[in-house]
């Protein structure tokens, strides 16, 4: 998983490497600084008196070093930002590209909201960890090692305090991290739930007020908030031990150096250790402990972002279940369709089949109506035609060839489908319609709109075809949206046109005009119309009545009125339904 994710650094690898190099230089300088500074201090204290020339010389060297360190730090800051921002960009890019390869089955697996979170919040988490990692992961251990080595060189025996302190601090920090992390993870899950319930309340404000449940909700929320507060406090109190432990180690080191150092210094007459070295020991001690702290922070951060990485990896590793065949067919001969012994379920695990025992033959140019109640799998049936899903058993043939043998893009450009949950995207009407055919001329676009009975209302807008559609198409009415979606599909000049309940918000007269237009202008195209209204399908060549995933009845309007109970019942309901109840 890590390999796959960090593989996304790609062209930004060099910036990551630069960062590491800059960091190494910075570390070396940072470590040398106190060493050289100690020389100046010693010179100040030397019995021979202050050698100003020497001090200025070393001082200049020190300033130069500080400047280099500053430059390195600034450069590393830049390259680290570049590397991590680039990494995040590549991650988002890869996720987006992979989602584009998804089949409908894959899409159903992830909710759009969760995909958005993965591409924003989760990627941002990983980005921050990565930046921390390249900035500190080299720096901290290097500083640590260097400081320990220097401490032993300078302090000799005195450095032995670290032998005790490092395990204490490292162990303590690890223990805290180990205990705190699961606690935090649990709280965060609860916290998410709490926020979900707030969102629920905001969204359902009308329901809450409608039932006068304000006090009830307050009580419920208060309880949940208290629980979260307690859990959070517990977790935070574990983490709050970090700073006392760290402080303890700093203090311990200080006292150890004071006692043992002064003893050694006086006993040896300043030969084993002198005052300058003693103060350097304190500096190194501080550095060692600080860097241990940093390392534990990285550890915590990495494990925390592990969750995000997992979620990103899930999306990246999801493979489309619909592969393009080898040696695919590129030509769809005609609009004939054949379902042969088709059974279908949405996932291998599902117990219930969405469709079973479907056998239908549809000739090219026919108009087919499909009718049935909610959940009768009308949509499932037609979604098999452009191979949005693959059949579980049996086969679907278009133009006499199994859909699985076609190049997917070739198949889908011959089969136009207007989805039930149809959408317009933000952009002009023209741009939206050109989804159907990017090269369509203005005249072709108008023609398609005339056929879909959309031209009139589009032309009534002040900006006509250049009218901007807002996100989600909120500035056109439901019926207008549906007609634009039909026009968009028509622009594909398809051999098969599928309308999945696509005229439900269109009035019956316009609906009839659209169907009449189809008959006149695209007679060779096979038209499949799913509808709730009997009127939308009654003049079809063939009407399929679906019930519970099976074909209940098939035939034309007259025949079904005689043979099909369901059909007759729906028909009566819609023609004079209300009066029965009076």
């Amino acid at each position: 998983m890590l390999k796959r994710l960090f593989g996304c650094v790609r062209e930004y690898k060099k910036y990551a490497v630069y960062t590491l190099i800059f960091m190494v230089v910075e570390v070396i300088i940072d470590c040398l600084l106190p060493f050289i500074a100690a020389k100046v201090i010693n010179n100040l204290q030397s019995e021979a008196g202050v050698d100003m020339g020497y001090i200025i010389k070393i001082g200049l060297i020190l300033i130069l070093m500080a400047l280099i360190s500053l430059a390195m730090g600034a450069l590393a800051a830049m390259t680290a930002a570049k590397a991590s921002a680039g990494f995040a960009k590549n991650l988002r890019h890869d996720i987006f590209e992979n989602v584009q390869t998804y089949s409908f089955e894959n899409i159903d697996k992830f909710s759009s909201a969760s995909l958005v979170t993965r591409m924003t919040t989760d990627v941002a988490n990983v980005q921050m960890s990565f930046m921390m990692l390249i900035r500190i992961a080299v720096r901290a251990p290097l500083m640590l090692i260097f400081s320990i080595v220097m401490a032993f060189i300078m302090g000799g025996w005195l450095a032995s305090s670290f032998v005790i302190l490092i395990p204490i601090l490292a162990g303590g920090l690890l223990l805290i991290a180990k205990n705190a992390m699961p606690a935090f993870r649990r709280v965060f899950k609860k916290y998410d739930k709490l926020n979900e319930s707030i969102e629920e309340n905001v969204r359902a404000a009308r329901v809450v007020k409608g039932f006068s449940r304000e006090e009830y909700e307050k009580k419920k929320f208060g309880k949940a908030a208290d629980e979260i507060q307690n859990d959070f406090t517990k977790a935070e109190r574990i983490v709050a031990l970090n700073s006392p432990i760290m402080q303890f180690c700093v203090y311990f080191n200080m006292i150890f150096v004071m006692i043992v150092g002064s003893m050694l210094a006086i006993k040896s007459g300043g030969t084993t250790i002198n005052v300058g070295e003693m103060s350097a020991m304190l500096t190194y001690g501080m550095q060692i402990l600080m860097n241990l702290m940093m390392l534990s922070m990285i550890y915590v951060m990495l494990t925390m972002s592990m969750e995000s990485m997992k979620r990103i990896y899930e999306v990246l590793s999801e493979k489309t279940v619909l592969d393009n065949p080898k040696d695919p067919e590129y030509e769809v001969k005609d609009g004939s369709i054949e379902f042969k012994d088709v059974s279908f379920k949405y996932s291998a695990k599902a117990k219930k089949y969405a469709l079973s025992d479907i056998d239908v033959k549809i000739e090219s140019g026919m108009t087919v109506g499909i009718i049935g109640g909610t959940g009768s799998s009308k949509s499932s049936l037609v979604q098999l035609i452009p191979r949005l899903y693959d059949v579980t058993e049996g086969s679907v043939k278009v133009g006499g060839i199994d859909v699985r043998k076609y190049d997917i893009e070739a198949l889908r450009s011959s089969v136009a489908m207007v989805l039930q949950k149809n959408l317009l995207f933000s952009g002009t009407i023209n741009e939206n319609l050109r989804w159907g055919n990017p090269n369509a001329t203005d005249e072709e676009i108008r023609e398609a709109c005339r056929l879909a009975q959309a031209d009139d209302f589009v032309m009534s807008f002040p900006d006509g075809y250049e009218t901007k559609i807002e996100q989600g198409g909120t500035n056109v009415s439901g019926g207008q949206k549906q007609r634009l979606c039909i026009a968009r599909a028509l622009l594909k000049k398809p051999k098969i046109l599928i309308l999945d309940d696509s005229t439900s918000a269109v009035d019956t007269k316009t609906d009839a005009l659209i169907r009449a237009g189809f008959k006149e202008y695209i007679p060779e195209t096979t038209k499949i119309i799913i509808a709730q209204r009997i009127a939308s399908v009654s003049d079809a060549d063939l009407i399929i009545v679906m019930d519970n995933g099976k074909i209940a009845d098939m035939g034309n309007h007259e025949k079904l009125l005689k043979t099909s109970d369901i059909y007759r019942e729906v028909y009566e309901q819609q023609t004079n339904g209300g009066e029965d109840d009076e």
């Binding site: 319930s197 200080m254 300043g270």
Partner: protein, 646 residues
């Protein structure tokens, strides 16, 4: 009901890039109010431990001075030296123990206070929010409201647990050290202060740069999020039209932009630390050099301590002080960004808490009642199944009116915004037992009428009477309790199906809930769910179809058993066969009671007693189906399909 709301008004404004002391003061005030004892304790702890950590350099210096003296004198007698050194170290140890105790106390208390504060704030915000009028929810984006609870609270957490304590700590140390430095030498202190001025200048520059790009990054993130959201929602359309390549290209452009802004924002933020640190280093070197120079020249010193000449004994500790001083200045500069962000967050949280709650001057309340044979109404303490309005009058008398569900609107005018009237002269009389339907295009004002009956909004002109009582006199919660509403956008809560139905009447037994579900035609599909009535619903019932959610919502209203029911497109996603079942159930339930129905599917409203056809906020036709068809007006054209709604 987003469709009738006026353009959303964004209050609170954008976070300002300056310290807002008024907001800071309010945060502090709240902290003190919640924890009047603990906050001072913590403050004392922080200041003490900061002082203690600033003082040791004095002791180390003394110890070092002793060592130097011994070394210089050539006297290597440790047993003598230790009598001088160990007491000093002893004091140091004592100080450290105290400091450690304080640190433990402070950090533990801080963890407790921070979470306690956030918890209390959350509850305060939520309670306040529950009291807000519907208008607030209609005019604010839900995402914006949510970000008060997530982003803004998070910035407060950082502010209280990290920024404020470390500011206090660093401030204490800086002041102490400054004092000690002045004690040693005013000249050298001036040099240090000059350097610190430089640091502030640099941190302002870098901080400003990073803030600028962080704001830009925030915008880019919003843009990316918007684009991704739209595309992920339309993913199936993209597939059907094979538009993958085009979409990828568009996304890349947005993605690169976000990457650039992120990069710059982080580059500035990252650089701040090392730059300030190295300015500190340079400052240190300068101090060393100048100190050496002063020593060499034996320059007269100016200090508030007893140091007339530059001497090694204070120059060295002074140098150490420099490091401590700049280190803490660095700490402060790193916190500034968090504090500004925390203030912006706090300001936004306060705008939510300061929102005007819904006012309710109603004094007519709903009580259980016993109704005698002669029609007199008496209040009852028990649940009688009958209800009455208890109406206190100004002369001190009480009258009781039986709750019947008679709703009348007289010449009602209304507008969501001033000057934009949505309803004109609407009069509706609904008697108990009647089914009143509203038909009309989107924006004609159908839903608005129901918003007025339950007083989600108040009318501008005219009168609404409920059982003869002006609804302005009725306590809102009681008024709403007597009205059952089922909305088109069903909102279910996380919990089981049973719990969701019981939401309508918290005292309902399981049997009563199931009975309501049967009436609503929901029992059939619920029993087929994996766990039946105990099936968990989450995410607004995402695992159910829209039609099934509507059925549960109807059951929820049915279990409340209200005298008046409002069905606002409540069956729009239910197929006509099931709808017929629901209607039969509802007709049975609502026998003798009042029902308002809003629908654009005419088969839903056909059997109503009165159908009101609304156009642009006016009732243009009224009558039953038969009459309206005969009139051959708008309803007739709708019915015959030559006219399109929505």
């Amino acid at each position: 009901m987003s469709k009738n709301k006026p353009n959303s008004v964004q209050k609170g404004g954008s976070p300002k890039r300056r310290m807002n002391f008024k907001v800071l003061g309010r945060v502090m005030k709240l902290l003190f109010k919640f924890y009047p004892v603990l906050i001072p304790i913590v403050a004392v702890c922080i200041v003490t431990s900061a002082l203690v950590s600033a003082i040791p350099s004095v002791f180390t210096q003394k110890v070092m001075a002793i060592i130097t003296r011994y070394l210089d004198s050539g006297d290597m007698n440790w047993s003598v030296a230790k009598t001088e050194i160990l007491p000093l170290v002893g004091i140091l140890i004592a100080l450290y123990v105290v400091s450690l105790a304080f640190i433990v106390l402070q950090t533990q208390l801080m963890a407790y206070i921070t979470q306690g504060f956030l918890g209390k704030m959350r509850k305060k915000m939520f309670d306040g929010m529950q009291n807000l009028p519907i208008k607030y929810f209609d005019t604010h984006k839900h995402g914006d409201i949510m970000s008060y609870y997530t982003n803004d609270i998070d910035t407060l957490r950082q502010l209280i647990s990290q920024s404020l304590p470390s500011l206090l700590q660093a401030g204490t140390i800086v002041l102490t050290v400054l004092f000690i430095m002045l004690y040693y030498s005013i000249w050298m202190t001036l040099i240090v202060l000059l350097g610190v001025l430089g640091m502030f200048f640099v941190s302002k520059k870098f901080g400003g740069g990073s803030a600028k790009y962080f704001i830009r990054q925030q915008k880019s993130i919003a843009k990316t999020e918007g684009y991704v959201q739209e595309m992920m929602n339309g993913q199936k359309v993209i597939k059907v039209f094979c538009r993958e390549e085009q979409v990828k290209e568009d996304f890349n452009a947005i993605n690169v932009e976000l990457c650039n802004d992120t990069m710059k924002a982080h580059a500035y933020a990252n650089a701040l630390g090392p730059v300030i640190m190295n300015i500190g280093n340079i400052l240190y070197v300068i101090c060393v050099t100048v100190g050496g120079l002063f020593l060499l020249l034996e320059t007269p010193n100016l200090s508030i301590g007893p140091f007339p000449y530059f001497h090694l004994s204070f120059v060295i500790p002074f140098l150490n002080m420099t490091k401590q001083f700049t280190g803490n200045v660095n700490t402060v500069s790193q916190q500034i960004n968090h504090i500004v962000m925390g203030m912006a967050g706090a300001e936004r949280v306060f705008t939510l808490m300061d929102e005007q709650p819904e006012v309710d001057e109603g004094y007519v309340t709903l009580v259980n009642a016993e109704i005698a044979e002669d029609g007199t109404v008496k209040e009852s303490r028990k649940h009688t199944g009958k209800w009455a309005w208890k109406h206190p009058h100004s002369d001190g008398t009480l009258t009781y009116t039986e709750l019947k569900g008679d709703v009348r609107l007289f010449d009602v005018d209304f507008g969501y915004e001033e000057g934009k009237t949505v309803l004109h002269d609407v009069s509706v009389y609904a008697e108990p037992g009647q089914k009143v339907a509203f038909v009309g295009a989107t924006g004609a004002g159908k839903t608005t009428i129901t918003n007025l009956i339950n007083r989600f909004y108040d009318i501008a002109d005219g009168k609404i009477r409920y059982d003869g009582i002006n609804i302005n006199k009725i306590r809102k919660s009681d008024l709403r309790r007597s009205l059952g509403i089922v909305l088109q956008d069903t909102n279910l809560f996380t919990g089981t199906v049973m719990e969701n139905i019981r939401y309508g009447n918290l005292e309902a037994t399981d049997d009563e809930c199931i009975k309501a579900a049967v009436l609503a035609g929901a029992d059939d599909f619920i029993t087929r769910l994996p766990d039946g009535y105990n099936t968990m619903l989450s995410n607004n019932g995402a695992n159910l179809s829209q039609g099934q959610r509507q059925l549960i919502a109807i059951a929820r209203a049915a279990v409340a058993d209200p005298p008046v029911m409002i069905l606002d497109e409540a069956t729009s996603s239910i197929d006509t066969r099931t709808e017929a079942i629901v209607q039969r159930g509802m007709d049975k339930l609502m026998e003798g009671r009042t029902v308002f129905v809003i629908a654009h599917r005419l088969s839903t409203v056909k059997n109503s007693d009165v159908i009101m056809v609304l156009e642009k906020g006016r009732i243009i036709e009224r009558g039953n189906h038969q009459k309206l068809i005969e009139e051959k007006g708008t309803y007739y054209r709708l019915y015959t399909g030559s006219f399109e709604l929505e």
